[in-house]
């Protein structure tokens, strides 16, 4: 009997291993070209017709990896929320795929010479989903709410509108003028943001108030915009259903989806199965290993495009890393190529400073750190960091997975000890953005980031201005460089974009060669994969992990 049991166990284990080893039935084709800087082309294989679709062809099924925590435009910033908002809301302007802005609810706009007065002529005949007309009063009421409600993204418009009631002047029903005391060259960029700039129906936020909340509770789970799709069902942890808005101002001529379903599949490793079985049309994110396999699948199209998203590692500007030399040493110690090529399998690219290559203001001649342990050793001696010094890297493994281990190995060669403290991402998040005392605070902590709109001040001030230490913003390094502060202050009130660009270049130099607050780890691409029968997708660098739903269709 013992033999029989052993046989059974063997068979059981063998079946298990066989099933585990079952890989996808893919036919490898030629690997796509590498992705050149600054803006690589989408990667796609020789397409073949997508497998037969056993479901409604007029419905687009998208799998996203995070629950949708509220969709009130000035509320919580999340990529999934923005994905839904991009279908139901519109702004006055929008960013174009190749850069620059396009008109959406604005028909034209102009600014005076010093950018203190902006006039927008609005599109006529546009209706909100509740049937009310879109006009200048709707714009004004909307931005008064956005700023006054004091939520996470109120600052996007709040930067400009310190006195919304008086700074927005209704010239006529379809013309609105923004009047500022200071030049505001970045206003148009902010109005194209997918964070906090969407126009909500005033009727919706006037009629659904509860305890003076500006209808925030209601609008977190409902949406009334002018966009091509109406929010039909909102189940934030399961799925969100959008259906076409019959009265949409651009009409429904041509090819479009009637319905869009955004499914929340938190385990991204399941996306490969769903795509290959044809149970979703498009996935927002996959693991690096799955991306390698899926991009070789001829019935799928894989895009890997770089925008404004990146990963950094905060270096605590206190304790052993208080001096710029010590942080320069760390910047020389980090093995950038190993991280990019080995750990991330070439699916990220080097980040050289506080801005990605696609960001307005990026300086291609920026000082670039390369791994050099000897240089690091010299700088450590100069900074007085003794051999045997202990450092702590706080991580959740969510942002720069594996970078901590690489750095541990490098620092060991320099005679330093790096302890990796692994916590869940929420604890990491609230520890970094807290006022915890320097004693016991991390020396390194990894984090992902992208700006609200394409402007260097917006991209940098929360992270590096000394006013924004810990809980006051996002300056997790407790970084304070007087020149960096000055440059940010000047960028804030600069009168032209050219002036901003010049200031941004010096700012990048301060934060790299002179006094780095972070390890500049990687630019992270959007990795979108969809069936070959899905057309109309175009990547816009500003709109991370969201899609032009109206322009997409099934062939």
């Amino acid at each position: 009997m013992r033999v029989r049991i052993a046989t059974l166990v063997t068979v059981f284990v063998a079946v298990g291993l066989l099933v585990s080893a079952c890989g996808p039935a893919v036919t490898p084709t030629e690997a796509p070209e590498g992705t050149p800087r600054p803006q690589p082309e989408a990667t796609s294989t020789s397409p073949v017709p997508a497998p037969e679709l056993g479901r409604d062809p007029n419905t687009l099924l998208i799998s996203t990896y995070e629950g949708i925590s509220g969709i009130d435009p000035p509320g919580f910033p999340s990529a999934s929320g923005s994905l839904v908002q991009r279908g139901v809301y519109e702004g006055l302007l929008a960013a174009k795929p190749g850069g620059g802005l396009k008109l959406v609810l604005a028909e034209s706009y102009e600014a005076n010479e010093d950018n203190t007065v902006w006039t927008f002529r609005l599109r006529q005949g546009v209706k909100f989903h509740d049937g009310t007309p879109f006009n200048a009063k709707a714009v004004k009421d909307n931005y008064i709410r956005t700023v006054g409600i004091e939520l996470s993204l109120s600052g996007v418009m709040g930067r400009f509108l310190t006195d919304p009631e008086n700074q927005m002047v209704i010239v006529d029903e379809y013309t609105i003028r923004f009047e500022f005391d200071e030049p505001q060259p970045a206003l148009a960029d902010a109005l194209a943001s997918s964070y906090g700039s969407w126009i909500v129906s005033p009727k919706a936020f006037n009629e659904n108030q509860a305890e003076g909340d500006w209808s925030h509770a209601w609008l977190d789970t409902h949406a009334v915009g002018t966009g091509p799709y109406v929010l039909e069902e909102f189940r934030p942890t399961e799925e969100v259903t959008l259906v076409k808005f019959d009265d949409y101002w651009q009409g429904w001529e041509g090819s479009h989806f009637d319905k869009v379903v955004v499914k929340v599949i938190e385990d991204v490793s399941q996306n490969r199965q769903l795509l290959e079985r044809g149970d979703v049309d498009l996935v927002v994110r996959v693991t690096p290993e799955d991306y390698e396999v899926l991009r070789q699948n001829p019935s799928l199209v894989a895009h890997m495009e770089y925008g404004l998203k990146y990963t950094i590692v905060f270096m605590g500007a206190y304790g052993p890393l208080a001096s710029p030399e010590a942080r320069q040493a760390m910047s020389y110690a980090f093995p950038y190529d190993d991280h990019v090529d080995v750990i991330q399998m070439g699916q990220v690219q080097r980040l050289y400073g506080p801005f990605t290559a696609s960001q307005f203001g990026y300086d291609p001649d920026i000082f670039k750190y390369e791994t050099d342990l000897e240089k690091a050793r010299e700088l450590l001696a100069e900074a007085g960091v003794e051999p045997g010094t202990e450092l702590v890297w706080l991580t959740s493994g969510h942002y720069a997975a594996g970078a901590d281990l690489l750095m541990q190995s490098q620092l060991e060669k320099l005679g330093l000890k790096l302890t990796i403290e692994k916590v869940d991402s929420e604890t990491q998040f609230t520890t970094i953005f807290s006022d915890s005392p320097i004693e016991g605070r991390f020396n390194f902590a990894d984090m992902g980031w992208w700006p609200d709109y394409d402007d260097p001040w917006n991209a940098a001030q929360a992270l590096y201005h000394s006013e924004n230490w810990g809980s006051k913003g996002a300056n997790g390094s407790y970084y304070a460089n007087p020149r960096a502060d000055e440059l940010l202050n000047e960028m804030r009130v600069a009168s032209t974009k050219e002036e901003i660009e010049v200031l941004a270049q010096e700012f990048q130099n301060v934060l790299t060669e002179q006094d780095p607050p972070c390890l500049w780890v990687s630019e992270d691409p959007d990795k979108t994969i969809h069936r070959t029968d899905i057309k109309g997708y175009e990547f816009v660098p500003l709109y991370t992990e969201t899609y032009p739903l109206y322009d997409m269709y099934r062939e």
Partner: protein, 334 residues
């Protein structure tokens, strides 16, 4: 009986109150800051203060607890900071999904476990016995997450026999959900297509969730049956010429079931806890997945509500078990 029920009701309330104190304290001493998680990293101190005020997080802990208890007594479980909805509404949506899943899993576990236990005891030392024991050991030692992924890979990805998870297919025409139990709702609506679709979605998660309780019940039933079958009254029954089936089912099983019934009550509590992993793997929109997400986002109101709900179900299940116990064994009075 009534004294028993009053006594148990008192203890149930007491245990639930202790549970609120423990979970409230634990969920508020962890380092995560819910206001910061909710607001994001770019929020200014004024915005953080605004959120803390809105959700009462700016008040001292005992005062927050007092407010929580007074609202709880009025049936108000607060607002989920994650889903932005009333927690009561969330539970109303998610709890039926968990009930349906746990009910199916427990049906599989009880029917399968008792059958295997009886068969392995009746055929002690045979191939059936060894196979049954192998299944029991396997059920206890195979992690649910591994088995879940394996079944998904085989039955969904490779063979395409079953859906990968969730409660129904996306393109299924909508039907009313008066009970929230989709299989029952589909039957009530006379929608066979919906019933088959919902049942197909249930199979894999229910199988995975049932494995451990099935194994425990099978092992306990077998051990208990073997003990009972050595008793004199069983020998007497056989000596009187009764059929073996009658001896086993009518005389042995009835007496062997007492410890199994106790275990079933405990396993319902286990299934509600173990359900978290299964729901996450199968993207099952139940209380388990809701709990996992709430814990990770420091969603205090949701965490407290789920803990209370699972605690209450566990306590009620134990009361029911005690009543069933008395019904099965006339020697026990309540």
């Amino acid at each position: 009986m009534s004294r028993f029920l009053i006594r148990r009701a008192f203890f149930t309330v007491l245990v639930l109150w202790i549970l609120t104190v423990v979970t409230f304290t634990l969920s508020h001493v962890i380092p995560a800051d819910p206001a910061r998680l909710m607001a994001g990293p770019k929020a200014s101190p004024e915005i953080l203060d605004n959120i803390r005020r809105r959700y009462g997080l700016d008040r001292p802990l005992p005062q927050q607890y007092g407010i929580y208890i007074s609202r709880l007594l009025r049936g108000d479980l607060g607002v989920s900071m994650d889903s932005r909805r009333l927690v009561v509404q969330d539970l109303k949506d998610f709890f039926p999904a968990t009930v349906e899943l746990v009910f199916c899993a427990m049906c599989l576990a009880v029917l399968g476990g008792i059958s295997i236990g009886v068969l392995t005891a009746a055929y002690r030392g045979s191939v059936i016995d060894h196979l049954g024991r192998l299944l029991s050991v396997g059920g206890l030692s195979i992690p649910a997450f591994w088995l879940g992924l394996l079944l998904q890979l085989l039955l969904y990805y490779r063979l395409g026999w079953l859906p990968f998870g969730e409660r129904t297919s996306t393109d299924l025409t909508a039907f009313a959900h008066p009970t929230g139990l989709y299989t029952a709702d589909a039957l009530l609506a006379g929608r066979w297509d919906a019933f088959i679709d919902a049942a197909k979605h249930l199979i894999m998660p229910a199988m995975v969730l049932s494995l451990e309780p099935l194994a425990v019940i099978a092992r306990l039933t077998r051990a208990s049956m073997l003990e009972v079958m050595l008793q004199d009254y069983i020998r007497t029954a056989r000596a009187k010429g009764m059929k073996e089936t009658v001896v086993i089912v009518r005389h042995a099983l009835k007496n062997a079931l007492l410890p199994t019934v106790t275990m079933i009550g405990m396993q319902i509590g286990w299934a509600l806890g173990g359900d978290v992993l299964v729901e996450v793997i199968f993207n099952w929109p139940g209380v388990g997945r809701y709990a996992a997400k709430s814990i990770l986002s420091a969603d205090h109101s949701a965490v407290m509500a789920v803990a209370l709900l699972i605690g209450a179900v566990y306590l009620v299940a134990n009361v029911v078990v005690d009543i069933v116990y008395a019904a099965i064994d006339p020697r026990i009075s309540l």
